[in-house]
């Protein structure tokens, strides 16, 4: 009798304990995995404004800072310089916007006004005006960004390199 009672009590205790543990664990896990469910650090704009189209000379690349704001969990950081890009306005007012980081090992590339080429100081990578590799170790041409022009403003999608 006593033994059966205890056996029964054990089973009930295990099940109740299991329910309790699950009830406690579920919300805790839910909170713990929050960073899987939601972006916690992100730029607030998809397309970032670089300035008016007129600000860019035709045929000569111009280096521009990319300024935007960033949400970091609860904080917003406004007017942050996120990096910089090379902007080339062409004859037909179309644009190429290149990353300043070399596709080889990431050094900052310069515009050689005399050579009319992009030059990487680290391992002498050389790119033409359209970002194509001319010589040196870089495995591919310059990274660029999707661009669009709205109300005469130059906008780039800084989140995605192409």
């Amino acid at each position: 009798m006593e033994n059966n009672r205890r056996k029964f009590l054990k089973i009930v205790s295990h099940s109740l304990g299991g329910v309790l543990a699950a009830g406690i664990a579920a919300p805790l896990v839910g909170l713990g995995i929050h960073p899987w469910l939601k972006e916690t650090v992100y730029g607030t704009e998809d397309f970032i404004n670089l300035g008016k189209l007129e600000d860019f000379p035709v045929g000569v690349p111009k280096k521009m800072n990319v300024t935007s704001s960033k949400m970091d969990a609860w904080n917003i950081f406004e007017g942050l310089v996120m990096g910089s890009v090379w902007v080339l306005r062409k004859e037909d007012d179309s644009l190429s916007v290149f990353s300043v980081n070399c596709p080889h090992l990431g050094c900052g590339i310069n515009w050689g006004e005399d050579e009319k080429q992009f030059l990487c100081p680290c391992h002498e990578g050389v790119f033409d005006l359209n970002g194509k590799v001319l010589s040196g170790p870089p495995p591919r041409g310059l990274y660029s960004y999707e661009t669009k022009i709205e109300n005469n403003n130059v906008l780039i999608n800084y989140k995605k390199l192409i």
Binding site: L9, V12, L28, H34, A73
Partner: protein, 593 residues
Amino acid sequence: MANKLCEWIEDRTGLSKLLKAALDEPVHGGAKWSYIFGSGLVFLFVLQAVTGILMASYYSPSSTTAWGSVYYIQHKTSFGWFVRGVHHYGSSAMMIVALVHMFQVFIFGAYKRPRELNWISGVILLLFLAGFGLTGYLLPWDQKGYWATQVATNIMGTVPVIGKYIKILHQGGSDYGNFTITRFYTLHVFLLPISLVFFLFIHIALFRKHGVTPYWKMREDVLRDRVDPFWPDQIFKDIVFALGMYAALAGVVFWTRGAELQAPADPASNYLARPEWYFLFLFELLKYCQGKYLIVGTVIIPALALTFLFVLPFIDRNTSRYPSKRIPYFGAIFSGLTGAVVLTVLAMHHDSKDIHIIHQREEAEKQAARAVKLAEKGIPPTGALSIFLHDPIALGEKIFKESCIGCHKIGGEGGDNGPDFTNFGSREWIAGLLKNPKDAKYFKGSGAMPPIKLPDESLLDMAEFLLSQSVGLIHQNAERVERGKELVLKGNCVVCHPIGNKDLKKIAPNLTEYLSETWLKEFIRNPGDPKFYGTRNKMPGFDKLTENQLDALIQYLISLSKDRTLVSEKLGNRGYVFGLTAPRTMINFQDKS
């Protein structure tokens, strides 16, 4: 394979033997429901620990980030509000269960020889619990935590000679700041848990050594012959209790929609602080200890009470555990309890009658909701208080206090040349106006409009219709609108008031889109316009206000009633002031010329 591994581990550690010994612990006299409170406390403590650890992975202890991170937990994660709620109400539950536990062991006479140290370690645990409550309350760095904790640290300061130094040590300086948070945080998540676990270990080890103290009337033979194993007999009861407590906690959390988070702490405000309910009796006690007697309430009485608890096992040396043999001690403990309960009830009673407190509570709720809405857009790195700098309503309030309050009263404050703006633009306010425009609250002697002699319900219908013309009326009632429309359009109103066409002029103000954002804007710019008061106007126009300021003012006016929401959440001036302390005093009008 698994078996072998288990054997290996068992061989090296003796773990399961240990576990078996712990589980088979004999409970003399039988398992009892009256023994559940101690293990219930262990359960609650573990619950506090796991919820606390999870929150610690989101919490950020500094004066600029604490509020923001708690806001994030509360409003931006999926289960944060629940976890925080369990932790918040869990602390109250621990306090309640600890007190019940203490009274149970007191009534059973379990503090007597040889269990003196068991009792004493228990009293120490109770003090740690109070420490947890006190330090945790500050961590969100909201109005209520900030101001209530000020009271506590000021009490520390009243201790003779060393008080000042203790206070500075706890605050991490002579005023509240980053170090106050880091210190309270260190206490709450490192020092107190470590100390509590240490004493809990002693407490439980001693309990195991001496065994449970049974009901005083239990017969010797029952005590000897009835022996239940701890597992499952007692543990079953403990688990049922734990499950019950957790279900109750979860219920409270759902019912209250989690713990409150007030607006960020504003050192420049004068907030009336109230501590958690379990400290209220101490707080109330201070009201009766004024002037040089303050120390009686802050130090002497608490110290005496604690000393009594600590020495109780040594002064009550009678071996009998019958309550009838311990009357003086029952008297002492229960008069202490009664005193504390009476003081708590008194404190609550005062507050429930104090118009200032009631008003402040409503105000705090509004502010909190506002803060959450503003924080949605991100909190500037200068700290949570800076969100109010972007707040058009705060800016509007400031403009109101500069330009309007001379003639319009709000909440009993201000002049009375113009209508009273308390609850301005609510259904009630408009119905009141219709009922009697000449009332002291409205146009007084200058009211040219005749009172509308209709029952209150009809006046409310008319108000519903008038307000329904602009977007943003909360819980709009379509039937009322229809009835109100009938009354307004078919009644006498339209004899004097144009309605339906914005540009029509008659002898009284045009009521098309009455009190909407555009209506208010045009009106405030030029109340003397023929479409408003025309030649009868007595209010100055405010066409000098910039678009921004006017927007802010109108948003403030609309926020005065609970019946309406803002349609456009336009932001006021951007650009915040660094080194800011108080939003209301620091907002500067960049574009006011």
